[in-house]
């Protein structure tokens, strides 16, 4: 509230309200819960779900084949031992950063605009981390021995190699997943109780009843709920930064040209938030249209997210510039060659596409007209998602395919199974997302209600 007041002092026009006019506690609750409870299963939902589910079955097929035949079905060949699997891992985990940023950091910073988007951004985070987590496991070749990564008492008397960033990854990602899941679930509890109370169907009452864990909305419950949310937000905040930092260590600890650089952690974190917000926009724009949520996820939300994208995109651009500068300034022939190879080598097309997608096109967001045009914003969000995928491809593949010894150079090309695995994780992601919007309130009823309360209180003052 204070920050909004200061806008007035500075002479900036008062920001638009965060929810459409005429909303009361009742209408907010009705609007969000009816999507789950009374709207039913619509043909549009079934259509989308079936597409997602078929892709999930494709993933099932690829993973089965991978278990039988091994990672050779992918295009990974020495020297490029990290292909699509690692590119996709980093891409998905990057996407999984917006949710926790929105829910934790923005909660601690009292940014009210987070309330209508945090729930599905968190869901997106959890599903994206699930997709991400699959890739390193599948890439191990013998995924059924994944538990070797965990330090547990075993008859080999062996610990994992704690000096390896790949082990740090296991801890970083699993901690992030656990905390994000807890945060999401704790936030859901009062809403699940609302659904329980409003459900007509006996089975729904029982399921929502069990999930809401006996929530009655007493003052004690609310007080504990607030404390738990704050504590989890405090826990999650450092994780937003740490996870992608550790992911970037996977590269920086290696002495491969183009990887062994200190700019990676901050530039990876910025990139993660960049792609995360792009994905939130990609999801939010169709959903608000299809479920008529324009008065809850307003233009102001979209515009704010576009601004965050612009800011993080500039940090990423700075990262690229420093990367290129350091390659030249270092005087190291391998680093210099890496840069030359990016611009002139066999993958130069992808490098220029990356620059276009991540640096050039998003500059259009400086224009208020672009930020407020839904089709353009949607296109920019897709472009940034593509650009961030290309960034990981450029980092992983270009450096590996031409390492120190020219005799070992080889061009890496993904096979159809690489593409199938990647598409398959989209199946997993969207299947879970479709189930989420069908069975859980995709916008936090409780928090939006508190927004109604605060905006209606504010009105007389202004």
């Amino acid at each position: 509230m204070d920050s909004e007041g200061s806008h007035n002092i500075a002479g900036v026009t008062e920001p638009e309200p965060l929810i459409g006019p005429g909303h009361t506690f009742e209408t907010v609750t009705d609007k969000i819960s009816s999507i789950v409870l009374t709207r039913g299963t619509t043909p549009g939902w079934v259509f989308g779900f079936l597409i997602a589910f078929s892709l999930l079955m494709l993933l099932n097929l690829v993973v089965t084949l991978l278990m039988i035949k091994g990672v050779g079905i992918w295009g990974i060949r020495v020297p490029t031992a990290w292909g699509f699997a690692i590119v996709n891992f980093v891409w998905w985990i990057g996407i999984g950063h917006a949710g926790t940023l929105i829910s934790a950091i923005l909660l601690l910073l009292h940014q009210k605009w987070r309330t209508s988007i945090n729930r599905f951004a968190e869901a997106m985070t959890i599903f994206a981390v699930m997709c991400a987590g699959m890739f390193p496991l599948l890439h191990m070749g013998r995924p059924w021995l994944f538990f070797y990564l965990m330090p547990y008492p075993n008859p080999m008397w062996m610990w994992p190699q704690f000096r390896s960033p790949l082990v740090w990854d296991v801890f970083a990602v699993s901690t992030y997943f656990t905390v994000s899941l807890l945060f999401w679930f704790v936030g859901l509890i009062p809403d699940l109780a609302t659904l329980r109370d409003r459900a007509k169907n006996k089975a729904a009452k029982i399921i929502y009843g069990m999930l809401s864990m006996g929530w009655r909305g007493s003052a004690v419950h609310w007080s504990r709920y607030e404390t738990a949310s704050l504590l989890l937000a405090g826990l999650a905040t450092p994780l937003v930064v740490s996870v992608h930092t550790v992911v970037s260590f996977d590269f920086t600890i290696g002495i491969i040209p183009g990887w062994h650089t200190t700019i990676f952690p901050p530039y990876f974190v910025a990139g993660a938030i960049y792609s995360g917000f792009a994905m939130v926009l990609t999801l939010a724009i169709p959903i608000r249209k299809y479920y008529h949520l324009e008065d809850l996820v307003t233009m102001r939300h979209l515009e704010t997210m576009a601004k965050v994208m612009l800011a993080t995109g500039l940090i990423v651009a700075y990262g690229y510039a420093i990367e290129a500068f350091m390659a030249i300034y270092s005087g190291d022939p391998y680093e210099r060659y890496m840069l030359w190879n990016r611009i002139h080598g066999p993958y130069r097309g992808l490098y220029f596409m990356l620059i276009a997608c991540n640096i050039v096109i998003p500059q259009s967001l400086w224009s208020r007209r672009v930020r407020r045009s839904i089709p353009l914003l949607f296109i920019v969000s897709l472009v940034v998602n593509t650009g961030m995928w290309l960034e990981r491809f450029v980092i992983v593949v270009i450096s590996l395919s031409r390492d120190f010894i020219p005799s070992s150079w080889a061009v890496y090309l993904p096979t159809k199974w690489d593409w199938a695995t990647y598409l398959g994780t989209f199946g997993l992601f969207f299947t879970l997302f479709y189930l989420f919007i069908r069975f859980l309130p995709m916008i936090s009823i409780v928090e939006v209600r508190s927004l109604v309360h605060e905006t209606s209180e504010e009105k007389p003052h202004s």
Partner: protein, 218 residues
């Protein structure tokens, strides 16, 4: 609003939340117990052999030296399973009509091998060399157990990596004087005395506590 759940649900939910922790813990322990059990490792499980050869009788009661049959143990990675001819050095003279030994005589007659069942076999990804262990003062019974008391031979260790590392991390607890290596009745001195002897021998025999991966996984 009507109640969906009975009062007892409160108790059930509490018990199930705390119970889940216990059950997961118990499950982990059970898995570990199974992995360490003779049922899974074949430790201390007697193997039926084509001829019921008794180490107790030959090595224990008769006092035949290990190397009489396992000839290559000092020079090779493999201790050697004796050929039928080794059996026949004695059994062409004694117990020549014993029905129990008919497979041995048949093997000798037909020039075919006796299909002994291997008791201690390490996986192919493990490199193990008998000769270095013997020449650094590790006795047969350290790994093979009380062989002089086994009527039918059994595996004395789990053959897990922890079993190997147990000695590789602290050889002073197991090393013995070289003259005692082939003594199947050797009793190590108790506690502190073994440590004292062990430290002395480790130094004297220049035993290095190799623990890096490529020691065994070459």
């Amino acid at each position: 609003m009507s109640q969906i759940f009975h009062r007892s649900t409160n108790l059930v939910s509490r018990v199930s939340i705390y119970g889940a922790v216990l059950i997961i813990g118990a499950l982990g322990y059970a898995l570990y117990a199974i992995a360490m059990s003779p049922w899974y490792t074949d430790q201390n499980v007697k193997r039926q052999q084509p001829v019921p050869f008794s180490h107790r009788h030959h090595a224990g009661e008769l006092g035949i030296d290990c190397r009489y049959c396992h000839t290559s143990v000092e020079k090779s990675s493999f201790a050697g399973v004796p050929p039928t001819q080794t059996c026949m050095t004695c059994h062409s003279q004694i117990w020549t009509n014993a029905s129990m030994l008919e497979p041995v005589r048949a093997s000798y007659r037909d020039d075919t091998s006796i299909p002994w069942i291997r008791v201690n076999a390490l996986p192919d990804f493990v490199y193990f060399d008998h000769s270095i262990h013997i020449s650094k003062g590790i006795g047969c019974t350290t790994c093979h157990g009380q062989i002089a008391e086994m009527a039918l031979t059994e595996r004395a260790g789990t053959l897990y990596m922890s079993w190997c590392l147990n000695c590789h991390r602290q050889p002073e607890k197991f090393v013995r004087d070289k003259s005692e290596v082939f003594n199947p009745f050797y009793e190590p001195p108790s506690g502190a005395k073994q440590l004292e002897l062990g430290r002395k021998l480790v130094k004297e025999y220049k035993i290095q506590s190799y623990q890096h991966c490529s020691t065994c996984h070459r």
